[in-house]
Amino acid sequence: MKRPLFTFGNWLIEITREFGKCMLLFMDALHYLFTRPFRVHNTLVQLEFIGIKSMNIIVFSGFFTGMVLALNGYHVFRMLNIESLVGGTVAIALVREMGPVLAAIMVIARAGSAIAAELGTMKITEQVDALVTMSINPVQYLVSPRIFAGFTMMPILATVFSITGLIGSYFIGVIVLGINEGSFMANIRDIVELEDFFDGLIKSFVFGLLFSLISCYYGFYASGGAEGVGKAVNKAVVVGCVTIIVSDYFLSALMI
């Protein structure tokens, strides 16, 4: 009886310690974001890396997500003779849930893992220490620009994901499966409201913040050589994805 309790207690202490350390890193990053010298160049580089360079994968995966949603929706709605609802249901699923969540997961896989690997490598090869010896604050130089870029680019990427998803669903629904174009589009207008779009945007801002903070945290505190960097990347991706999915539930519950 004592052993499971002991294990659970240790796990709880470790989780609390990591959460506290992560929050301290976030507070530091936030503080240094608004402190001189502003790291404009680094921030622009990260905006490009997280935002622009993720665009291809977002467009590609968004298009196919829209197509598969339309395909499945069509086969279910056809049994009830309401296949014109495909456009509206796919649109609301993309705008409120699939866009923000799947875009975040794609960005974690591409940019989050790279952030953790880059910071982790810098940490174990003493590049972070080298910054400190040059009187450069590593949180301001490395972490703040990445968190800012994650926070600002994720809503744009999620919006692109949703739009390309809608194009994909239009392609399958209207062009391939022959749903009436007028009713397909009218249903989107009837079902999706501006509030849904804003709810999706709020989620994306939160997801952008969470993924960039988690990736920076695991990279910045990596230790133990190449194996340590591997673990940091692994944790950044796994914890990042799980956090996005869990927080999506709570955000949805708050918004409904």
Partner: protein, 239 residues
């Protein structure tokens, strides 16, 4: 002058520095000699404020840096540079930008002057023609040279060297040793070098301090250290 008083540091209950007392004279080359794993790097990281001691003091020009916050430490660090054991070059930028990095961050000088100063340093460390190379394309000796050029670029008052000849072949080792000596001769700043290499230490040091089991067990000039009768030191020198 740097004075270390009763410095103690432990990691997870393992005492690494157990009351280090040492005075490092200004404008001289001081080598902290010791076997691998005796805490030499930990001691060096305390001197530049990368680590905080559990107790004890490190006085730099009379000010205790162990009691300073990050902002105060940054001011002290602006007079310091460090050559890391693995170079710690920024691997996303080329040789030129690595050397120019502290200059661009610390000094307000024009791009033209940066170009001039960096090119001169690159030539001094014997890397002419290599300035567009990325760190991944360099050999161990070249990395040390770039690291040295980067450490010297802001003309610091104190330079710390973490095992500058470790992992190098004898010829490259000798060229790095000569480069350090020439650099010190040109501008006599305070050099603090940690090493486990006895020949290198006797060739280069004005003062030697031997670190063993978390304490400085002997210090003095090369000739004084050579005369010591301490059995551990005699055994260490005889290999």
């Amino acid at each position: 002058m740097i004075k270390i008083v009763d410095l103690k540091k432990s990691f997870d209950g393992d005492m690494v520095l157990d009351g280090v007392n040492l005075t490092i004279p200004g404008e001289k080359i001081t080598v902290i000699l010791g076997r691998s794993g005796t805490g030499k790097t930990v001691l060096m990281k305390h001197i530049i404020g990368l680590l905080k001691p559990d107790s004890g003091s490190i006085f730099v020009d009379g000010k205790d840096i162990a009691a300073m916050d990050d902002d105060e430490l940054d001011l002290i660090r602006s007079h310091f540079s460090m050559l890391f054991q693995g170079g710690a070059l920024f691997d996303s930028i080329n040789v030129f930008d690595n050397i120019a990095f502290p200059l661009r961050e610390r000094e307000k000088i024009s791009a033209k002057d940066v170009e001039k100063v960096v090119t001169q340093r690159i030539s001094e460390v014997g890397l002419t023609g290599m300035k567009r190379k990325m760190p991944a394309e360099l050999s161990g000796g070249m990395i040390k040279r770039v690291g040295l050029a980067r450490a010297l670029i802001t003309k610091p008052e104190v330079i710390l060297f973490d095992e500058p000849t470790a992992g190098l072949d004898p010829i490259t080792e000798d060229s790095i040793t000569q480069l350090i000596l020439q650099t010190h001769k040109k501008s006599p700043t305070t050099f603090i070098i940690i090493s486990h290499d006895i020949d290198f230490t006797f060739e280069i040091a004005d003062k030697i301090a031997i670190l063993h089991k978390g304490k400085i067990i002997a210090e003095g000039t090369a000739s004084e250290i050579k005369k010591t009768k301490d059995p551990f030191i005699r055994n260490y020198f005889s290999g």
